[in-house]
């Protein structure tokens, strides 16, 4: 899989990270589909959906955990992506990151508003999801992508990794992370930031 520098649509400082996430050819199609969606092209949006829905939904499900609610949030996320597609700006970052930022925000909003009324399930580990539509090739590519991210995560200290995972997958605020880990407030904030910086640098180096 080619992970060479992409065409200069995006500043090098950002493309570097973006192309580490998906292969370059793929990243380009995402931008094209997103821009076509902004002009109302529903077929382009369907292609976009098929390309990114497993990442969007997987993330939403991991944060939200309840499968029925996750389905709802995923729908909201895609409607939001459709609605805002013309506002995506390739200068500011990759298309995938833009979409996953929307997804993460929606998922976090959902768990935080739900937590006001019900206690969240304390089970931490996400359920194993069947991926019946995968071809062998897709599965192999996925496991390669996942392996690359796992390797990058190895660059983090255990405490950084713990804080980043609670924040990103757990949907907790840094204040809550500090409480959960029983560490001073400022420390959680710093661990999240230092952990993400290390993850970023390690993903960049892995290309």
């Amino acid at each position: 899989m080619s992970r060479m520098a992409g065409p200069d649509r995006t500043p090098a400082s950002l493309t570097g990270r973006g192309s580490a996430v998906v292969s370059v050819a793929r990243a380009d199609s995402l931008i094209d589909w997103l821009q076509a969606s902004g002009r109302g092209d529903q077929d382009a949006f369907a292609s976009l959906y098929d390309a990114v829905s497993s990442r969007v939904h997987g993330l939403v499900l991991r944060v939200v955990r309840n499968p029925a609610q996750a389905d709802e949030v995923t729908q909201e996320v895609f409607l939001d992506i459709w609605r805002q597609s013309a506002r995506f700006d390739p200068q500011r970052g990759s298309a995938l990151s833009w979409m996953l930022t929307i997804a993460h925000r929606r998922a976090v909003d959902r768990v935080r508003s739900a937590q006001a009324t019900t206690e969240r399930d304390s089970a931490w580990v996400a359920e194993n999801q069947d991926t019946p539509h995968d071809s062998t090739a897709e599965r192999a590519e996925r496991s390669l992508d996942a392996q690359r991210v796992r390797n990058a995560l190895d660059a983090l200290t255990d405490t950084q990794r713990g804080a980043v995972e609670l924040a990103y997958f757990g949907g907790y605020t840094h204040t809550e992370v500090a409480g959960l880990l029983d560490i001073p407030l400022g420390t959680a904030k710093t661990r999240i930031r230092d952990g993400l910086i290390r993850l970023r640098d390690s993903l960049g180096g892995a290309r």
Binding site: R17, F45, H104, V164, Y168, T173
Partner: protein, 252 residues
């Protein structure tokens, strides 16, 4: 720039901030190009984590999404005016255009490259080719927020913080809100300035964006106003408030 607020970039990038911190940090972001670049890069990194959790949606979800988009119009792109245009901001903009962040009438639309060049010339800034545009491009709202005499007023509405940043020197005020749900069907939010001798004068209809965020310049003379309010009005707004304010902030 406060080192303390800067260190919130990581938590902000992964939504690990509460509502108040988000507003504070976004105000900081408007002033701190370094943090904007850092947040973007940390979001890219965090996005890679989604490779660990992939899960297919069921066919029902796909069908529902593709059915629904047929009934939803994508928003127009955000366009910004060049830096020199502050004096006439929002004059002559149809009501429906006010309320989104930085939509401008067609005749003011410049391409990004053109606007950036204008900003560089006017500000005497050295334009660096590979910088994201946000570093040189300030929206009109950002200019108010970063004005040297800008003052912040806050009020909590249903647990969400509404912030007004006012610059008497620029005679402008910006309304910032987040987690603000769209107004009920058939209604709009409308902002008001309390003007001595005139009472509540419309400062424009306010419509949260698709992520329920608002950052909008209020119409009218913010320097003369002694306070600002927000009400829920019939779509398109009213000449005078017809309901009790959901927010009322005195500029004292």
């Amino acid at each position: 720039m406060s080192a303390d607020i800067h260190s919130l970039s990581g938590a902000y990038a992964v939504d690990a901030v509460d509502g108040d911190e988000r507003v504070l940090f976004e105000e900081h972001l408007a002033l701190c190009p370094e943090c904007r670049v850092e947040v973007a890069s940390l979001r890219e990194a965090a996005s890679a984590l989604a490779d660990l959790t992939r899960a297919e949606t069921g066919p029902d979800v796909r069908r529902a999404v593709l059915d629904k988009i047929g009934t939803v119009r994508p928003l127009p792109p955000l366009v910004q005016r060049p830096a020199y245009d502050t004096a006439t901001e929002h004059r002559g903009i149809p009501t429906e255009e006010v309320g989104t962040v930085v939509r401008m009438p067609r005749r003011h639309v410049l391409t990004w490259a053109g606007a950036a060049a204008a900003a560089a010339v006017v500000g005497g800034v050295t334009w660096q080719q590979f910088r994201p545009q946000e570093e040189v491009q300030l929206t009109a709202a950002e200019k108010v927020i970063r004005a040297s005499d800008a003052h912040r007023f806050q009020q909590s509405v249903d647990g969400h913080t509404m912030t007004i940043v006012r610059s008497p020197a620029m005679r402008r005020a910006v309304l910032i809100a987040e987690g603000m749900p769209a107004a009920p069907k058939g209604k709009d939010y409308q902002a008001w300035f309390d003007l001595p001798g005139q009472g509540m004068v419309s400062a424009g209809v306010v419509r949260p964006d698709a992520s329920d965020n608002v950052m909008v310049i209020l119409e009218g003379d913010a320097a003369a106003a002694t306070g600002a309010g927000l009400t829920v009005e019939p779509t398109g707004g009213s000449p005078a408030p017809t309901s009790d304010p959901i927010m009322l902030i005195p500029f004292t």
